[in-house]
C-alpha cells in the first residue's frame, strides 16, 4: 500500500533521457515558444501530439542547422525514419484521457505536467494514479484557468484560485465527473 505510492512505482520525478537532447527550458523559457506550436493537436484530439520531425526543421533549417545536436534529426528526417522519443507520461491502455476536453474546459498544461519550462529533461510531476485524477475531478475549481493562460507556465490567478476557479467553472459549465465510463470504455 505504501510501496505503490512511491515514485518507484508511479515513476514520478524521474527525468527521462531522450534520443535527442531536447531542452524544454531553452525552447519554452528562452525562446518563449508556445506549447501548442509543437503539441498542436492538444485542442482537437485525445493526443497532445508529439511533433513530426518536419516541425523541428521549420526553425532549425534556418538556425543551428549545423549543430551536432541536430545530426540525428536530420538523418532520421532524410531517411524518413521517425525519431524514437521516449514516453514520459504513460497511462494504462484502458484509460481514455482526452487532452482536448481538458484544455477546452480550462485546465492548464502546468496542472498536470508542471513547470516544463524548468525541466532540462522532462519528468512526471504527478503520480498519474486514479486517485490523483479524482482529486481534480472532484473539485476542478482548484485548477481552472482562462483560455489565454492555458499554456502559461507559473501562472498566478488574479483572484484567489478557489473563487476564481469557481467562477470559471460555472462559466465553462465544468462538471464534477466521477463516473467510470468518463475514462474507461
Amino acid at each position: 500500500m505504501i510501496w505503490v505510492r512511491t515514485p518507484f512505482v508511479s515513476g514520478k520525478g524521474d527525468p527521462v533521457r531522450q534520443p535527442i537532447e531536447f531542452d524544454h527550458r531553452h525552447h519554452v523559457a528562452d525562446d518563449g515558444i508556445d506549447c501548442r506550436y509543437c503539441h498542436d493537436l492538444v485542442e482537437r484530439s485525445r493526443y497532445a501530439g508529439v511533433p513530426p520531425t518536419s516541425r523541428c526543421l521549420n526553425c532549425h533549417n534556418q538556425i543551428w542547422n549545423d549543430s551536432p545536436l541536430l545530426a540525428t534529426v536530420w538523418t532520421r528526417y532524410f531517411r524518413d525514419q521517425p525519431i524514437p522519443w521516449v514516453r514520459v507520461h504513460r497511462l494504462p491502455d484502458f484509460v481514455y484521457f482526452d487532452h482536448s476536453i481538458h484544455v477546452n474546459k480550462g485546465v492548464g498544461c502546468e496542472s498536470c505536467h508542471g513547470r516544463v519550462d524548468r525541466m532540462a529533461r522532462v519528468y512526471q510531476i504527478a503520480p498519474l494514479s486514479m486517485s490523483w485524477c479524482l482529486d481534480c475531478h472532484r473539485s476542478p475549481e482548484r485548477h481552472l484557468r482562462p483560455p489565454d493562460a492555458i499554456t502559461a507556465m507559473g501562472w498566478t490567478p488574479p483572484r484567489p484560485q478557489e473563487e476564481f476557479g469557481r467562477a470559471l467553472k460555472t462559466l465553462y459549465g465544468v462538471r464534477e465527473i466521477t463516473h467510470c465510463s468518463a475514462c474507461h470504455r
Binding site: 500500500m1 505510492r5 486514479m130 486517485s131
Partner: protein
C-alpha cells in the same frame, strides 16, 4: 462382538471405561505414538489427492476459467457447488462443540475436537474455491476494503463481501475455540512426552499451561464465551452463504427460506461427515469405550432430525413455487428440476437426502457402524447434488428460453472436487497423528462429575 461396549446402547454412562486418570490419559495419547500402517496408507492415498488438487488449481490459474465447463448462462457450477458443500460440512464441528456445550450435552466431549478439526479443515478447503473461481484471482484482494491508489472500494450491497467477512470470522473464531480447548491437553502431551524435542514443541503450543486454579477459572469463562459466540456464527455463516443466491432474481435462487434451509442442509452434511470420520477413527484406534455406541446413536438421531428439517424446506420450496403462480418459479421447480435434463440427478438427490435417512428410524441401523458409514457417504453425495441442482440447474433454465443451455464438467472440474477431498483427508490425518483428538482434561473432568466427588 455384540457383547463389546461399542454395541451396547444401554450403557448408562457416556464414558465407558474403568481406567484411572493415568491409564485414561495414556490411552488417549496412544494415537500420537502409534505407528499404524493404515494411517500411512491413507496418508499416501490422500496425499495423491492433494497433489491432484494442486495440479488442477495451478492449471486453472495459468490457463483460465475456460478450462472448466462453465458457460453463459451457467457461469457458476462445480467450483461454487464444492464451495458451498465444504462450508456446509464445516458446520457440524462448531455446532457440536459450541451448541451442545451450551446445552450441557455430556456426550459431546469425546467427539467435539474431531468435529472442530473437521470444521477448520473444511472451511479452509471451502475458502480456496471462491478465490480460484475468480476470472482474475490475482486481484482477489480487491474484495478487501483497503485504501487503493485507484480510490475505489468494495461494494457491500453484494453478498460476496458478506461471504468474505463471514468465512473469515467463522474460521478465526472456530480456530480460537479449538485452540483454547487444546491448551491444557498440549500441556499434558508436553509433560508425558518421551523425547526432549517433543517436550519443547508441545511446550510451546501449551503456552506454559500449568493448570492453576485461577487460570482454570478464566479459562472456563472464556471457553464458555467462545462457545456462545460460535453458536450464532454457525447459524450466520451458512445463512450468509445462502444469500449469495437468495439476493438474486434468479428463479430457484430468489427465495426467503434459503438461510434456514441452507443451515439445515449444512448441519445435515456436517453430521454425516462427522460419522464418516469418527467411525473409522474409533475402529482404528480402538476407542469404542471412549466414543461409545451412545455417541454414534446420538449423532445418528441428529441426522434423522436434520433430514426432516430438510424435507420441510423442500416441501416449502415446492409449495411456494406453485403458490406464487410465477411462471418462471413454477417452471424451474415443477418442470425443469423433476422432469428436465437433470431429472435423474434430482431424483437421486431426493432418494439420498429424503429417503435414505429414514433408515435411521431403525435402531439396528443406528447401531451398525457399517450401515451408518455407508449412509453418511450417501448423504454427503446427496447434499453435493442438492447444491449442484440449485446452482447450475437454476442457471441453466432462467427467464429467456433463448439463453437456456446445459452444462458439462471438464476433467479439471472433477479434479478439483476429488482433489479437495484428498486435501481434506490429508490434513485430517495429520491432525489425528499430532494433536490429541479426544479432549483429555475434559474427559477426566467429565468423569469426575459423573462419578461424583469421591
Amino acid at each position: 462382538m455384540t457383547s463389546s461396549p461399542a454395541h451396547r446402547i444401554d450403557t448408562p454412562i457416556v464414558l465407558d471405561t474403568d481406567d484411572d486418570d493415568a491409564q485414561l490419559t495414556d490411552r488417549l495419547l496412544a494415537p500420537l505414538r502409534s505407528k499404524s500402517k493404515v494411517w500411512y496408507a491413507l496418508l499416501a492415498l490422500s496425499g495423491a489427492g492433494m497433489l491432484l488438487f494442486v495440479a488442477t488449481s495451478v492449471y486453472t490459474f495459468v490457463g483460465g476459467i475456460g478450462l472448466w465447463g462453465n458457460n453463459i448462462p451457467v457461469a457458476w457450477a462445480f467450483a461454487i457447488t464444492d464451495f458451498v458443500w465444504w462450508i456446509g460440512i464445516g458446520h457440524a464441528g462448531t455446532f457440536i462443540s459450541a451448541f451442545l456445550l451450551l446445552l450441557q450435552q455430556d456426550w459431546r466431549a469425546s467427539v467435539n475436537r474431531i468435529a472442530e478439526a473437521m470444521t477448520l479443515i473444511a472451511v479452509f478447503n471451502a475458502a480456496l474455491f471462491p478465490v480460484l473461481h475468480l476470472g482474475r484471482p490475482w486481484f482477489a484482494y480487491w474484495l478487501l476494503p483497503y485504501p487503493a491508489t485507484m480510490a475505489v472500494w468494495p461494494q457491500f450491497k453484494s453478498a460476496l463481501p458478506w461471504d468474505f467477512a463471514a468465512i473469515l470470522t467463522y474460521f478465526t473464531v472456530s480456530f480460537l475455540f479449538w485452540y483454547t480447548g487444546l491448551v491444557p491437553d498440549f500441556a499434558t502431551v508436553r509433560d508425558r512426552a518421551g523425547s526432549r524435542g517433543r517436550r519443547m514443541i508441545y511446550g510451546i503450543f501449551a503456552l506454559g499451561w500449568r493448570g492453576s486454579a485461577e487460570h482454570w477459572q478464566h479459562y472456563r469463562i472464556v471457553y464458555g464465551l467462545l462457545a456462545g459466540l460460535a453458536t450464532p456464527l454457525v447459524i450466520s455463516v451458512h445463512s450468509v452463504v445462502s444469500m449469495d443466491f437468495a439476493i438474486t432474481q434468479l428463479p430457484g435462487w430468489h427465495s426467503t427460506i434459503f438461510p434456514p434451509y441452507f443451515v439445515a442442509g449444512a448441519l445435515f452434511s456436517g453430521f454425516a461427515m462427522v460419522l464418516t470420520l469418527l467411525l473409522p477413527v474409533r475402529r482404528v484406534f480402538h476407542l469404542e469405550e471412549i466414543v461409545t455406541a451412545r455417541h454414534i446413536d446420538a449423532i445418528a438421531k441428529m441426522l434423522l432430525a436434520m433430514s426432516w428439517m430438510l424435507i420441510y424446506s423442500y416441501v416449502c420450496e415446492l409449495f411456494i413455487a406453485w403458490y406464487t403462480g410465477d411462471p418462471y418459479e413454477r417452471y424451474i421447480f415443477l418442470q425443469a428440476r423433476p422432469l428436465g435434463p437433470w431429472a435423474w440427478l434430482y431424483w437421486a438427490m431426493i432418494s439420498a437426502n429424503v429417503l435414505a435417512p429414514q433408515l435411521l428410524w431403525w435402531r439396528s441401523v443406528r447401531l451398525s457402524p457399517l450401515a451408518l458409514f455407508a449412509l453418511s457417504l450417501v448423504i454427503q453425495f446427496g447434499m453435493w447434488m442438492e447444491r449442484f441442482i440449485i446452482i447450475a440447474g437454476s442457471l441453466s433454465r432462467d427467464f429467456l428460453p433463448s439463453s437456456w443451455a446445459d452444462y458439462r464438467p471438464t476433467w479439471v472440474d472433477l479434479g478439483l472436487l476429488f482433489g479437495s477431498i484428498g486435501l481434506f483427508l490429508f490434513a485430517f490425518l495429520l491432525f489425528l497423528r499430532f494433536v490429541p483428538f479426544i479432549p483429555i482434561a475434559e474427559m477426566k473432568e467429565l468423569r469426575r462429575e459423573i462419578r461424583g466427588t469421591a
